[in-house]
Subunit: 287 residues, 2 copies
């Protein structure tokens, strides 16, 4: 009623308010909640599920700890006693999926068996599910795209043309790839051709709230603050991209100047967002 | 004056009306003209140039012959006695480049030496040039993107959402890769992460005349003809995408049904454009 008005859910979706009841004897768990609740809820879930239970996380976001990205899927796995945890990401916002419009999703799985199983759960003619053996790549795409979208928004705010913006998006994919490879083993370039990669990035850079707020930030020029923009455009909700941008910068800073130099776009987004650099400098990416 | 009003060309660009004079003693040739003129002009050029002369083609398009794509760069090379011919493509429309806005380009070269040389010629802070050793991949991107853009336009015309459109674009990149690999050796997946790939494709699918005309075609529904749309929206100029679409279909048809099945998007664009299939079926891509 609140988030998807006029959408009729199928009868096999049943709301069970008690978590232990909901998870009792479960063989499959699907996580779609703010990750702050995980550490409180997971112990309860673990006590209830069937042996051999598997999980999948649709949670978009990433934790940072000691200047290193930490995957939410690994956090869930740890909290659930080493359970097999896959992830599902991609360009598939709830309202379009609910209208049964054609969308895609990418499952990142740690075993071929889990991948096949989750595809069976989610794939249908209007939701094309591709499976890749790259949890970290799939999961990090969802967080990093928001930082690139800030760059795309700066571009729009300054009034640069379509080719400049396409260049920002493209350089963004490359730096997303490089960032994932810097911190995780087994990240595949091919992952970025999947829905979680270019498709989700393009949607976010051509629509999306991070792009919109960054455009407003650039238009206002010196003195603009994210807080004021969040109050005006998002009713005070916090932007994801600016938070991730700070964490990403902290990670790169900790690796040193040589590493920072390999990420001119991500670093330019940080400098514009938090160090007062002019938004027009988003294109100073080539040395 | 006609195509780039108010743009001042640098003094080292000199117009020489006589082709033999222009090419006399040349060590570098840059081809930017409709390819129909090549067979007439190349013999004249060949007689005039210096030994060891190299060429680069910026000509977007591809010839088809006996249901096989033929690269314009190979045609030029043949007409110039086997000269080393590279290509330059990407999201870099003339008016944005002329305003010195940040853009990118991809050079596809057949030798590392040529690649380094052409980068020296074109690269500057506002034009980021990447070199790849994949002439066919770079060159075919420029033609195939227009077919995908028709699919994106159908999507817009039917009124599908942003995630559906992103899916079409993503599936488009995958089929572009597969099409190139079907007909040429040495096509690299990485090429499609370059400006000639995703950047040019995104620009074309979110702006661009092929997208616009396909949107109109879908809006009009049964009875719409490309000829009428070309008259109304393009002053009678011919669309590139519909021509390429027919050639691509002929290539796939000649390879047989199994091959056709591997290109559901390219084939759906053909069926909607030329076989009266409804534009809404652009999303029937999953079996």
């Amino acid at each position: 009623v609140k988030y998807l008005p006029n959408v009729r859910l199928p009868p096999n979706v049943v709301a069970v308010p008690d978590l232990s009841d909901a998870a009792a004897g479960a063989t499959l768990l699907i996580f779609v909640l703010p990750h702050q609740f995980l550490s409180r809820l997971c112990p309860q879930i673990l006590r209830a599920v069937a042996p051999g239970c598997r999980a999948i996380s649709l949670i978009k976001g990433v934790e940072f700890e000691s200047a290193e990205p930490r995957l939410i899927s690994r956090l869930i796995s740890r909290l659930l006693g080493g359970m097999d945890v896959s992830v599902l990401m991609g360009a598939n916002v709830a309202n379009e999926v609910a209208r049964d419009e054609f969308c895609e999703a990418t499952v990142g799985c740690s075993s071929a068996e889990s991948g096949a199983l989750w595809r069976l759960v989610f794939h249908r003619p209007s939701l094309n599910v591709t499976v890749v053996r790259d949890v970290a790549g799939v999961e990090l795409c969802g967080a990093l795209k928001n930082v690139v979208a800030l760059g795309a928004g700066f571009c729009d705010g300054v009034g640069y043309g379509a080719n400049t913006k396409a260049a920002i998006v493209r350089i963004g994919v490359r730096e997303m790839q490089a960032f994932c490879a810097l911190f995780f083993e087994g990240v595949e370039k091919d992952t970025f051709f999947e829905s979680c990669g270019i498709a989700d990035l393009v949607t976010t850079c051509y629509g999306g709230r991070n792009r919109k707020c960054a455009e407003a930030f650039a238009r206002r020029g010196p003195g603009a603050t994210w807080e004021a923009i969040e109050v005006e455009l998002l009713n005070g909700q916090r932007l994801q991209g600016t938070l991730t941008c700070q964490d990403v910068h902290a990670c790169l800073l900790a690796k040193g100047a040589e590493t920072q130099a390999r990420f001119p776009l991500l670093e330019a987004v940080y400098a514009i967002s938090f160090e007062g650099r002019d938004a027009s400098t988003i294109v100073k990416l080539v040395r």
